[in-house]
Symmetry: C2
Subunit: 257 residues, 2 copies
DNA sequence: ATATTTTTAATGGTCCTACCATTAAAGGAG
DNA sequence: CTCCTTTAATGGTAGGACCATTAAAAATAT
């Protein structure tokens, strides 16, 4: 380190806690490829000895990695910490937390969803196979037979998920899942039922456009679909006095740190 | 439990661990609004007593919430766990982990980035203020004066960040930060220097298009810019035998669970 | 021999106690 | 009033103990 640096910019002091160092080392081995999916870490007591820390500290590190979806702890003999094949759940949860802490408004979510789905529809229009189309139709049909709000919502999420998968790009699946999970919390209210048939019909129409490889028509249909849903969500939000979730971000003026 | 249940569908047994229950309760209070940014949780020893668990178990819960970016633990008297105003870092980290575990290829990242930036450019073109333009130009100018690869990369990330902010939608900022962080790992190599001037010039051009509110021209410029960068990244990736990072996803056939 | 049951040892989950380092507030010296 | 010292609260770490679970090994029955 240069001592007489004229620039008054100091690196922020960050006390490295034991568990952080451990996490870093393991993450590092992951990025380097030394550790990969399916590998098993030594037992806690053994690892603790290797890192020369107490079992408590090591456990906090493992716990962190677990909630990050990197490892999975399994009990019993032959148990231990196994490197997981990451699933997007953690990303979804992170986004959900972010929204809950009041940093994103419903309007922003809606806009992001519209934009994302527009891309997805256009890519899917190019790349989707007949199998994808069939699956989408099957889901739409299944939606018609369900009657619980929750079950119907699951169908909707599946529909979007399959559509995203048809782009053959997993990143879009992540975006969609995240937005779906967050917006799910708003899907409720009395007249959601009356919308159903229109929504289902819209999903069939979308598949028809995709089959015809008519990207513009498909995108328009998706846009109309989403706008209908979001109009409904917004109406319910206002009506129910919104149990202090999203939307009060700017009002509270949340300042970072 | 009913013994002769005809339906063979059982709910998956999920042993609720203590720390999970604690996390759920706190997350619940967050979603419900009982807890909000800036609030302080009781001290660990006190909280443990309240939940009737050991301090260890409670600490694992707090650690989980901390790595999730929900709370921040501060030492000393008057210390404790404070509800944080979440920053997107955690989402970025989650995405990074996901990629490191080999679930997304470089091609997918690239495509997602192109699509995302296209939206951002178009929205920014509508909404950016003169202040935003000035900031973008200042960053581009600053890039020219830096000479370390790392410093230049930081400038680039700032540029994209400010551009995303100009959309007035925080979700896009998250997407961009995530993609930037992940792709950052590939930005290296000898001839990155020779690209710099072209890249910087391109950033100025983009601002000019934005000022003119010419969305199509701006989008084209961004596309050309990104394609140039990604061509370079890809070339380096092949050349350096890619230290086992992204790209081997499909080859290994990572199967979830 | 084979199948079934029992025992055993490894392992994560939890609890407990103790001590350290840090920090802000209270108290004391000048 | 200012500066220094002391003090108490708090998170971080250590280390030991015990429990529940689990799969393998051993014992037993068939």
């Amino acid at each position: 380190m240069k001592t007489s640096s004229p620039a008054p910019s100091f690196a922020p002091i960050k006390t490295q806690r034991a568990f952080e160092v451990i996490c870093e080392q393991i993450r590092g081995q992951l990025a380097a490829g030394t550790l990969k999916t399916g590998d098993k870490l030594p037992a806690e007591r053994e690892l603790a000895a290797e890192f020369q820390v107490s079992r408590s500290a090591l456990r906090e590190a493992l716990r962190s990695l677990e909630v990050a979806g990197i490892i999975r702890n399994v009990k019993g003999v032959k148990g231990g910490a196994f490197i997981q094949s990451a699933e997007p759940d953690r990303i979804v949860q992170a986004m959900q937390d972010y929204v809950h802490l009041g940093n994103v408004s419903l309007d922003e979510l809606t806009e992001a969803r519209l934009a994302t789905q527009d891309i997805i529809v256009r890519l899917a229009c190019e790349r989707a196979s007949e199998a994808d189309f069939a699956e989408l139709e099957a889901i739409a049909e299944r939606t018609r037979q369900e009657n619980g709000v929750e079950a119907r919502y699951e169908c909707a999420a599946d529909y979007y998920r399959v559509l995203a998968r048809a782009t053959k790009n997993r990143m879009f699946g992540i975006f969609v899942d995240s937005l779906s999970a967050i917006l799910h919390e708003f899907v409720q209210g009395p007249d959601y039922e009356t919308l159903q048939e229109a929504l289902i019909e819209s999903r069939f129409k979308l598949v028809r456009h995709l089959r015809a490889r008519d990207a513009d028509a498909a995108a328009v249909e998706m846009r109309k679909h989403l706008e209908r849903v979001h109009r409904h969500v917004r109406k319910n939000l206002k009506a129910q006095d919104a149990p202090a979730k999203v939307g009060k971000a700017r009002a509270k003026g949340a300042r970072p740190d």
